[in-house]
Amino acid sequence: MSTSDNFKWVGSRPIRPDGVDKVTGRASFAADFSLPGTLHGLILRSPYAHARILSMDFSKALAIPGVKAIVCAKDMPVIAAEAALVGGQPPDFCDMSENLMARDKVLYEGHAIAAVAATSKKIARQALDTIAVEYQVLPHVTDVQSAMEPNAPLLSDKRYTQGIEPRPRKPSNIASRYEQILGDPVQGFAEAEVTVSEEFTTQPVHQGYIELHACTAQIGADGQAQIWCSSQGQFMIRAYCAKLLNMDISQIRVIPMEIGGGFGGKTTVYLEPIALLLARKSGRPVKMQMTRQEVFTSTGPASGSYITMKLGARKDGTITAVEGILCYQAGAYPGSPVRLGCMTAFAPYDIPNSKLIGYDVVVNRPKSAAYRAPGAPMASFAAESLIDMLAAKLGMCPLELRLKNAAKMGTQAPYGPKFREIGYVETLEAARRHPHYSAPLGPNQGRGIASGFWFNIGGQSSASVNINEDGTAVVTTGNPDIGGSRASMAIMAAEVLGIDYKKVTPVIADTSSTAYSDLTGGSRVTFAVGMAVVEAARDVVAQLTTRAASLWDVPVEEVSWLDGHALARVQGQAQQMSLQAIAAESARTGGPIAGNANINAQGAGPGFGTHICDVEVDPETGRVTVLRYTAIQDVGKAIHPAYVEGQLQGGAVQGIGWALNEEYIYDESGNMSNQGFLDYRMPVASDLPMIDTVLVEVPNPRHPFGVRGVGEVPIIAPLGAVANAVARASGVRVFDLPISPPRLLAAIRKKQVR
């Protein structure tokens, strides 16, 4: 398969198969589903940030007519510590179980402690109100720096910092330490003629998906369970529920509903195991749906961070060394993506000497969850701010400084391996050529640029391609469609088969109807599941040419496939037979025609992006207005350019929100003060200009069409790009996100006072 642009469907922009249903409201999301006799499940949550549960009394709640079941942690199997990890890999199921339902302590406001199923929501709410819980309130800590202090309130007295030798004797909120060293940082700084260093903080931000978590579960008399839910992976839901509830995987069938946004936040379970427990106990289907308040207080945001970094360079701009300490809030249980922060912060650059230390720190907040490019944006904010400060100190153009130090094929990444084919330089050159980069600016306006890197991943993926008897095709995969993957799968199948895109129907199957696939995340689906689709479609083409050879009575080696037709010379005459004609003869030539592929896709090409941001700062109020924004990214090959552009635009907007407005605000009691979108300020369409995009295509040679993952990269650069633009517009650099009006105004006034 060529990676040239000689494609009929790859690179085109057809309407997505699920588009009309989604814009007209016909698509079925998890909350739209219900079964006859369904009960309503609600969760009782802790009002305290940290407390011991002394007692719980369900007697009054159980006496309410219509209450059919109540469950708490005692209804969940205890997972032994040695069984917490499967194959040594996260997630930690002990932690996940306790996060689903607190056992003896609550570790954050919103931590679940019990759940009720009743014949109506009103009755379930009434039952929750009558559950008597006695707490012993404990000191709490929500700030990462405070949590690292030796005398900080401990979330667990059994947690000792891992990654330190010898093993610490005292328990700590620091769950683990990670060290990443390349070259000789001491020597690198000795060679530096200029250094810049600073401290940075970022706040936890929520993925902000529109669709609330929801599910319906039922368990039959035979013990077979079914779950209808919205998630980033039906197989993930199945595996986690089975592990948490000690069930066989074959006992659970998960039917994926449409998903209204996930961004990494739906790569774990919150409701599904609870709904199963309630369904098992009540003998009825149970439906659960979170409120927005619950989503904010009880589901994982991205980690907040405290970062110190130092960068050294020669006067010609050659960066000689970096060092830094990254401290990430994990929330109530370990598992922040601090390692990935260390790995990605300076990955766009060829820096021979680096030392980055990462600390994973637990605090009394909801357990952090994945959010696009987990761990990278906050580390990149610090790194890209420092790069910009270095450019200012050296009097260099920030883009030229980045180009001078840019990673290329053969560059050793800070985490060790050498890059293969990458397109970072191409994104910088595209930025330099773009009219945006040289457009004039007015008073109080500034322009910032920043770059970002993400690994991208492959993973286990399955696909089948079935040819119907009329020559149309059905492509079946096992991954929820978050970013237009149905369209991408149909395009790739159509390209290989050589038939019209509209003749290909993509289907997302439940866990009992298709083979396993890893979840939708890590920018993997178009790459990895796409590889499986291509392989399955090639399998079909091989069968089609064999059938044609049989019908023509010629050796199969003499039959080729082009543009949806088998071609051969038959008795000296050039002949062709369409896919439709071969399909019509399938019964007489061996039966149904279907191709399958089950792979563990490797070879995901890394992605790099460079963003340009113009802002205007109101010096009277500190308000920042984004005037113009351009996101440039190496996407390998865009299968459906419109949906790739959408990924870049969406990532940029989420990153801008991270930079300017979004933050969890906690009061002195450890309670979140802004539990809704009115007070938790995400950007809306009227806040921002059209996000311009440039797709740079440096093909990934390991994918049949050259695909690289695209979904993670675009959220990384905006934090630095916005901060760098604000610094130029206002003359004040802010090191603490978000750069909200009060924070920027305070910085401006502080400078004026000086």
Partner: protein, 80 residues
């Protein structure tokens, strides 16, 4: 001989930063490493992926190694 380059905690546990190992695939490499460096036993699959010649491999076992392959153990990549 494939060249294995350790960093961070693995380097401390092994007591070396790099080693050349004659192995045809990842499975043979892991066996030899655990045999030669008992401190690495059980640590090479724990939350780690492998990069072979710059390409990150998830859940590696049977991936072939060439005579001049460069192998790094890195943290597993999370999905967002």
């Amino acid at each position: 001989m494939a060249r294995v380059i350790f960093s961070g905690e693995l380097s401390r546990l092994a007591g070396v930063q790099q080693i050349d190992i004659d192995a045809v695939d990842v499975r043979a490499l892991l066996r030899q490493l655990e045999r030669s460096y008992p401190a690495l036993q059980g640590r090479l699959s724990d939350r780690l992926a492998i990069a072979i010649d710059g390409e990150i491999i998830s859940s590696p076992l049977l991936e072939p190694l060439s005579r001049d392959s460069e192998v790094h153990f890195i943290p597993a990549i999370e999905a967002g």
